[in-house]
């Protein structure tokens, strides 16, 4: 996906250099987004090296997803497997009928049945909420704003009368558009994190057991191994008991990430857990 972004930005730079009109640029951005929207499933699968598997190749996975889809009232998506030991899962596709849910072989090995089910329910909620579409449109809008700022008439250097030699005003325009881009980027990340929370919630509702997703998240992220199995009396002697430093939680990086922190997701799942029990 990064590669795609680079190509995309390079194209935009060329257009900028050629002094193409606002309309051309917007059409280009729109066209690109359109392509991404329609071929996202194939592009993602191809870039991740995922292989779509048939019912006979992965009967258990198919059965699990079929049942979850029945509960969630979704058409059954295509199912793909990525051969890698890295535990991960993702969903893609422009709409519910063209969705693909992919899991890595690593996640299938590490999680037990109910945990895998919770993860699949999370991905199916992404499909149900049309998150691929929502985020594509949102990023289209953010890129569009980035360009519109440059064509807005209240800068002398902006618009079609742009003169490459009047350095000062161009720099101002650039600075403003960069700020706008930065803000919209942060908003986009916030939106993405919000959709993740929504998908976690969806998984909890579909499976009825938020703790399964919680333990799956803990396993994938390596928290599960953090719960010790060594006896308290053994470690107490070594004083290890009270000198472990508190795990630092940085919040600034959260602004730039597409997924909420594990702590936040677990806390949200705990809240859902309490709601379900109440």
């Amino acid at each position: 996906m990064i590669l795609l972004g680079v190509v995309y930005l390079a194209f935009l730079a060329v257009l900028w250099y050629l002094n193409a009109g606002a309309l051309v640029t917007i059409i280009f951005i729109g066209g690109f987004m359109f392509l991404q929207y329609f071929y996202s499933d194939r592009m993602v699968l191809w870039s991740m090296g995922a292989k779509v598997v048939s019912e006979s190749e992965a009967p258990e996975l198919h059965e699990m997803i079929t049942r979850l889809c029945a509960i969630a009232d979704l058409p059954k998506p295509k199912i793909a497997i990525v051969r890698t030991s890295v535990p991960n899962a993702f969903a893609t596709g422009r709409n519910q009928k063209n969705a693909v849910v992919a899991v890595t072989s690593g996640i299938m090995q590490q999680l037990n049945r109910s945990e895998l089910e919770a993860v699949l329910a999370h991905e199916l909620t992404h499909v149900k909420n049309r998150d691929a579409m929502v985020l594509t449109i949102a990023s289209f809008l953010s890129t569009l704003t980035f360009y519109l700022v440059q064509y807005l008439p209240f800068f002398e250097g902006g618009g079609s009368r742009r003169d490459k030699n009047s350095g000062g005003s161009i720099i101002i325009v650039w600075l403003v558009s960069i700020v706008v881009y930065a803000v919209s980027y942060l908003l986009l990340m916030a939106l993405s994190r919000y959709r993740e929370f929504a998908a976690d919630r969806g998984s909890a509702v579909i499976t009825g057991q938020p703790s399964n997703l919680a333990s799956a998240l803990m396993k994938i992220s390596g928290v599960m191994p953090r719960i010790p199995t060594e006896d308290l009396r053994k470690v107490e002697g070594a004083n290890a008991f009270f000198i472990i430093p508190a795990v630092s939680k940085s919040s600034i990086f959260n602004l730039f990430s597409t997924h909420p922190s594990l702590e936040a997701r677990l806390a949200a799942l705990e809240r859902i857990e309490r709601e379900l029990e109440a």
């Binding site: 703790s211 919680a214 599960m224 010790p228 060594e230 006896d231 857990e273």
Partner: protein
């Protein structure tokens, strides 16, 4: 342990914190009502015995107190040493509040004699679908769940769920790194 103490190599053990120990008393009501976990009628306190005459007198006093308590509340008790050399005082009583009071009493007595640093943990057993232990860590002043499952395995998902449910009711240890299990407990 302060920075200077570490620098000078002075080992100081943190004092025991008992202020949250009583929280299990109200939490037990919630555990039974919301989670279906009943008090298992047993609790224990675990500490490291010391070689000192002061310790012997503390222990004698605790046994005296326990004898009195046994008469008044009908709490059974026994002392047991484990493989790690820790001493367990195991209490048996149908009445959960009596268990809590006695555990508190033992902890208090040890602390008054200056053995607060030797206190390891207090454990309450609950029964539902399976046995669930709430372990009170005296160094952290917080409880954490322990659900053993088979041979030195634990049910992390259930423990996590218990934490989520009980967090509002009682102080639960936030850092899972400190959720040390206690295998082969005498209760």
């Amino acid at each position: 342990m302060g920075f200077l103490d570490s620098l000078l190599g002075k080992t100081k053990l943190p004092e025991a914190r008992t202020e949250k120990l009583f929280a299990i008393s109200t939490a037990a009501v919630t555990l039974e009502a919301n989670v279906g976990l009943k008090p298992g009628g047993e609790a224990a306190i675990c500490f490291k015995p010391m070689e000192s005459s002061f310790y012997d007198s503390a222990r004698a006093e605790i046994e005296d107190l326990l004898r009195i308590s046994a008469r008044e509340t009908g709490t059974d008790y026994r002392l047991q040493k484990d493989d790690y050399g820790y001493l367990w005082i195991v209490l048996k009583d149908k009445d959960f509040d009596d268990l809590v009071t006695n555990i508190q009493m033992i902890a208090q007595t040890l602390m008054e004699h200056g053995f607060g640093t030797q206190l390891l943990c207090a454990v309450y057993r609950f029964v539902g679908e399976s046995a669930v232990y709430w372990i009170y860590n005296f160094k952290q002043g917080a409880y954490y769940p322990f659900v053993p499952k088979g041979d030195k395995q634990r049910d992390n998902a259930r423990e996590f769920r218990l934490k989520a449910l009980m967090e509002k009711e009682m102080p639960v240890e936030k850092e899972v790194e400190r959720w040390y299990p206690m295998w082969a407990m005498p209760i």
